[in-house]
């Protein structure tokens, strides 16, 4: 894991995220959101969590980004009207950013270098999911089913 790769990926990710937050056209923002998530997945790869990075790409690019883009398409008549930009929100975000940066830079215990890491294989993740994390897994399954049914009912045409 080299410094150069980290700096490039971090700048790429943050630039794409900033574009997602500030671009005027909704479709461009949604696409740069997808790009930011690719950058984030690359950061996960750097950190040795390949499985999570792949899962992130799979779920966010393959499902969430397409969903967002679809919703933009279905609510298209409204796209041109998005002119409002709340400057109070910008100030709050800046304040949070400064506070976070200040406190992170102040914390001494954060400046550690990674210990030599043994790669986390998919097999180990699978074993952990099926032994220690069975109940959370079941709960997530239930939650996803509930979300599926809820989303369907929400967008169903009302019969009059």
């Amino acid at each position: 894991m080299s410094n150069a790769a980290f700096v490039i990926i971090a700048i790429f990710t943050l630039a794409a995220a900033l574009a997602a937050a500030t671009l005027r056209k909704l479709m461009h923002a949604a696409l740069s959101f997808a790009v930011a998530l690719v950058g984030l997945a690359a950061l996960f790869f750097l950190l040795g969590a390949e499985f999570v990075g792949l899962a992130l790409v799979f779920i966010y690019i393959g499902a969430v980004a397409v969903l967002i883009v679809f919703t933009i398409l279905l609510t298209r008549r409204d796209v041109g009207k998005d002119r409002g930009f709340n400057w109070a929100g910008v100030l709050i975000a800046l304040a949070v950013f400064c506070g976070l940066t200040w406190s992170i830079l102040k914390t001494q215990s954060l400046s550690i270098v990674a210990p030599h890491i043994r790669a986390l294989t998919v097999k180990r993740i699978g074993e952990a999911l099926m032994t220690g994390y069975v109940w959370p897994l079941q709960c997530v399954g239930l939650l996803l089913t509930a979300a599926l049914i809820g989303a369907l009912i929400l967008v169903m045409e009302e019969k009059r």
């Binding site: 056209k25 479709m27 690019i61 393959g62 679809f70």
Partner: protein
């Protein structure tokens, strides 16, 4: 002797890299990656050129005509002529199009298609990109195709493009579920997401005769068929080419593309087809393993490409045979038949495993599949009788 022929490409790469001996580690890594990428592109772009002319010739034979035979011997130089034609065509971008997204869509779709090729083992020790979650990588990267298709459809600002993109995404989403779930039994039985492990788990022969490919188990056979059909849909091939449907919506999401961008879409479609066929050969047809022990002297990559071209021939054959389905029929088929059958494969694989992976497991998993199949065919029967057609004329 046969071993050195088998490893000739691996050894050639080592020899090339030995020129760089002594340079820093990352230089060798980058060089190794570049060699892999170069080989992938060279092989698959050649294959693309070849298959584009072979497809036209095979289709022509099925329709009692000759097909392209003017350029070069047997028309083999046809792809070069096509390429030149595509390159010198005017590149038209609609005035109301979103220029950046319109440009990025073909780039993304081609990049994604080529990336998915990287995790397939083409022969013994011949996987370009070895990664622990290779199968997941294939699907994670492949899922960006949907976004690219949507970008193409939306940026063109054309109703045919948009309709085509909507159709494409609807069908890709629906068929991605059976596509991924049919991979699950293989991953379960092997216990790994690495394509290399999956291939090496299919080594050996039962009774020294029948190869231990997963396609010869009941769950594997059914999963292979389901995977193949879903792969047909994912690569928008003919019985399921609703997104492009020339007779309905011009060319779907590619309507507003011309010249080289259109050629890029075309190439991405074929490369996606290679990737899905390659993955199904890896998962179910034993990858680069030989079908008979005697033939193991033939190099492993030859077997892989033979299987690949066999599958590609079936793709072309189906294109020459079946008419286009309707979109509602496709969706019904995906959700009511493909998905339950895919889950049945998972259960049947578990039954096969726990009944001892022998003849007993074989019969039990066959029993499970037959039960579910007959139950589904009773439940989904719409009781529509096909009587003689009644014509009503104006009186």
């Amino acid at each position: 002797m046969s071993k050195s022929i088998d490893q000739v490409f691996v050894n050639a790469k080592q020899w090339l890299l030995s020129w760089l001996a002594g340079s820093p580690d990352w230089v060798i890594q980058v060089a190794s990656i570049l060699i892999n990428v170069f080989m992938l592109l060279a092989v698959f772009l050649t294959l693309f050129a070849l298959i584009s002319v072979l497809e036209r010739k095979i289709l022509a034979r099925m329709q009692n005509r000759y097909g392209p035979n003017r350029v070069g011997p047997f028309g083999l130089f046809q792809p070069i002529a096509d390429g030149i034609k595509m390159l010198i065509k005017e590149d038209i971008v609609p005035a109301r199009a979103d220029k950046i997204v319109h440009f990025l869509a073909p780039v993304l779709i081609a990049a994604v298609a080529i990336l998915t090729l990287a995790v397939i083992p083409y022969g013994r020790n011949m996987t370009p990109f070895t990664i622990d979650g290779g199968i997941l990588f294939f699907f994670a990267v492949g899922s960006a195709t949907e976004l690219a298709v949507f970008m193409a459809g939306w940026a063109s600002n054309n109703k045919f493009s948009m309709l085509g993109a909507m159709r494409a995404i609807a069908q890709m989403f629906s068929y991605e579920l059976p596509l991924i779930i049919t991979v699950l039994p293989v991953v379960m039985v092997v216990g790994s997401l690495m394509p290399d492990r999956i291939v090496s788990a299919q080594a050996g022969y039962t009774f020294g005769l029948v190869p231990r490919w997963f396609v010869f188990t009941p769950w594997g056979g059914v999963a292979f068929i389901l995977f193949f059909v879903s792969g047909l849909v994912e690569s928008n091939r003919t019985p399921f080419d609703v997104p492009e449907g020339e007779s309905e919506i011009v060319a779907g999401h590619m309507t507003e593309y011309s010249g080289f961008k259109y050629a890029t879409f075309f190439m991405a479609e074929y490369i996606g087809m290679f990737a899905v066929s390659g993955l199904s050969a890896t998962l179910f047809l034993g990858g680069w393993h030989a079908p008979v022990r005697v033939l193991e002297i033939v190099p492993s990559y030859v077997w892989f490409f033979l299987k690949l071209s066999g599958l590609l021939f079936v793709y072309i054959w189906i294109r020459g045979t079946l008419p286009r389905t309707r979109i509602d029929q496709m969706m019904n088929f995906a959700w009511k038949f493909m998905l339950p059958m895919a889950f049945t494969c998972v259960i049947a694989a578990a039954v096969w495993h726990y009944a001892g992976r022998g003849l007993r497991g074989w019969l039990w998993s066959l029993f499970v599949i037959v039960m579910v199949y007959s139950a589904l065919s009773i439940l989904l029967d719409t009781r529509r009788k096909f009587g003689p057609r009644v014509y009503r004329f104006a009186e």
